[in-house]
Structures are given as structure tokens and as C-alpha cells.
């Protein structure tokens, strides 16, 4: 994936989140404060509007900074800062190996800044398994990523707003895990290991 394709993918996430707003809002109404759909939509509308062409590093950094300032709560800063950190390792042509490296940075950033580990029913449950998914399967298909999000359904949340629901958080996919599916899918488009 070169810079042009990356920009197209980042801009394209606007229409993805326009379409998925209702789905994410529905999940977040079940086990959160109901604003995740609107937040993601707002964030990527801003990315679509503000991020212009440049190197892959510049595009990722601008995307991150835009997400950090336009999405409230924890998800915007976490996604945003992860993009900023991923920009530091991105090559001008993002191939499978480079994407694995980026996804590992994504994993570390969210773990460290969100103080989260696997199994807590968060975006991290998708992010932390995506590098291995790419290694094993050779690409990041929507179906495989969705499977990772589905696995959060039976988890009990111990982080974020959903943690207040304790046992009642079971049975719903974590909204952050669901949005991570779309973001990682966009990063992996056309990249093969």
C-alpha cells in the first residue's frame, strides 16, 4: 500500500462509519453511553475533510492528530495516538511485514495508554490479535476480523463504561472492538503477507 492508497482508505472510513453509525450506537446503548457511533462518524468526517496527501507517515500522523482532537472520551485519544505512533514506523510502501510492525505498535500503544489487557472486552481484543491474524492468514479479511469482535460478546467488561454493567455486559459485542474491525480492515486493504 502506497501513500495514495492509504489516503484513499483513510478518507474511505468516513463512508464506512456513516454506514455503521447506527450499528455502533446500538452496541454502545446496550453497554455504554451510546455515543460511539456518533463519535467515530465525527472523527472520520474530520479526517476526510482535513487530511491531505503526503507521505504515508504524514497521512498517518495527520489522521491521528485529527482523531485525537475530534473524538471525545477514551476511544478518540487511543485511536488517534496509535495512528501517531504507527506513523513513526510506517514505510513509504506498506507491505505485509511493515503492517505487522505497525499493528504491534498499535497493540503496545493501546495497552500502555489504555492500561488494558486481553479479555477485558475492549477494542484491544481485536487490535492485539490482528498482527497474528495477518501472520497466520496472510491478509486481514473482514470476516476474520469480525470473528475477533464476536469473541468479545461473551466477555465481561472490566474496563471503560461497560465495566459498570458487569455481568450484564455479556451478550453484546464491545462497540470499540467493532470499530477496531473497520479501522484495521482499512489499514490492511490490499496488503498481503
Amino acid at each position: 500500500m502506497n501513500a495514495e492508497k492509504l489516503l484513499e482508505q483513510m478518507h474511505g472510513l468516513k463512508s464506512v462509519f456513516d454506514e455503521k453509525e447506527g450499528e455502533l450506537t446500538g452496541l454502545d446503548r446496550e453497554i455504554g453511553d451510546g455515543d460511539h457511533g456518533v463519535n467515530m462518524k465525527r472523527g472520520f468526517s474530520a479526517v476526510n475533510e482535513k487530511v491531505g496527501s503526503g507521505s504515508t507517515q504524514e497521512i498517518l500522523k495527520q489522521t491521528g492528530m485529527t482523531l485525537m482532537s475530534s473524538i471525545g472520551g477514551a476511544s478518540g485519544p487511543l485511536y488517534g495516538f496509535s495512528f501517531v505512533k504507527m506513523s513513526e514506523v510506517a514505510k513509504e510502501e506498506i507491505n505485509g511485514d511493515n503492517l505487522i510492525e505497525m499493528l504491534e505498535v498499535f497493540d503496545r500503544t493501546v495497552a500502555e495508554k489504555g492500561k488494558v489487557e486481553g479479555g477485558e472486552k475492549t477494542m484491544y481484543d481485536v487490535i492485539s490479535k490482528s498482527a497474528d491474524l495477518l501472520r497466520d492468514k496472510g491478509s486481514l479479511s473482514l470476516e476474520d476480523l469480525q470473528q475477533l469482535a464476536e469473541e468479545t460478546k461473551d466477555m465481561i467488561a472490566t474496563k471503560g463504561r461497560a465495566a459498570y454493567f458487569k455481568e450484564k455486559s455479556k451478550g453484546t459485542i464491545d462497540p470499540g472492538a467493532q470499530s477496531a474491525v473497520y479501522i484495521i480492515h482499512a489499514l490492511g486493504a490490499g496488503v498481503e503477507k
Binding site: 485525537m68 482532537s69 471525545g72 472520551g73 477514551a74 485519544p77 487511543l78 501517531v84 495508554k113
Partner: protein, 120 residues
């Protein structure tokens, strides 16, 4: 001289803390900001704005939840010449102690040591 930075979810908490602290330590530089778009929240931009204005080593205080995360990220992205320290002390008491200590001439390190004994 050490400067103080306060980030809160609420504009009133940020400004109120600054007013309270300034009463005792009027010569200490205090950067304070809180709330987003007239409502409750924190955001990286407002922290970056404050960090852009610091003139010496600074101790930063935060209130709850995502304000710490935003503060950590802003501090990590800072590439200026001054040292930024994040204190885990409660926002009002911590800022108060730091400002008073600063006004009586304590070093940044000495202030940080005292702050370490305070718990949220």
C-alpha cells in the same frame, strides 16, 4: 521556578483551583484548562495549547479518567526544552502544595518528592 499545569474535565474546577492556589502563591505561573466546547471533558488540543506556553519545568495535575490519558499523550509528544512531570496527587491539594513550595523556593525535585506522599 517551577510552573504548574492543571487539566480538568470541568472549566470551573480548573479555574477555581487556579484562583484558590493563586491566593497563596501569586507569583507561581499556573496554566489551567478544563471542559470541552462549553461542556464536560478534556481534549489533547487544550493540553497542547497550555504546554506550548510553558517557560520552565512544569508539574502537571489532572482530575479523573481520560484527562490522565490525554495528559500522558501530550507529554509524550512534547519535544520542547523543558521537563514535564505528571503528578498523581489530588488536583486541588497537589497544585496548592506545589505552588506554595515553589513560592518559598523549593526545587522541582523537592516539590515532586513532597507530592509523592499525597494520594488521590
Amino acid at each position: 521556578m517551577t510552573e504548574i499545569l492543571i487539566i480538568s474535565h470541568s472549566s470551573e474546577i480548573a479555574q477555581g483551583t487556579r484562583a484558590l492556589v493563586s491566593q497563596m502563591a501569586g507569583d507561581t505561573i499556573i496554566h489551567a484548562s478544563g471542559g470541552v466546547d462549553g461542556g464536560i471533558g478534556t481534549n489533547i488540543d487544550q493540553i497542547n495549547d497550555m504546554i506550548g506556553k510553558i517557560g520552565s519545568d512544569t508539574i502537571c495535575f489532572y482530575d479523573i479518567g481520560s484527562s490522565r490519558m490525554n495528559l500522558e499523550m501530550a507529554v509524550e509528544m512534547y519535544d520542547g526544552e523543558h521537563k514535564l512531570h505528571i503528578s498523581e496527587a489530588p488536583i486541588v491539594e497537589g497544585a496548592f502544595l506545589a505552588a506554595v513550595e515553589n513560592s518559598v523556593g523549593s526545587s522541582t525535585e523537592a516539590i515532586l518528592e513532597k507530592l509523592d506522599t499525597m494520594k488521590k
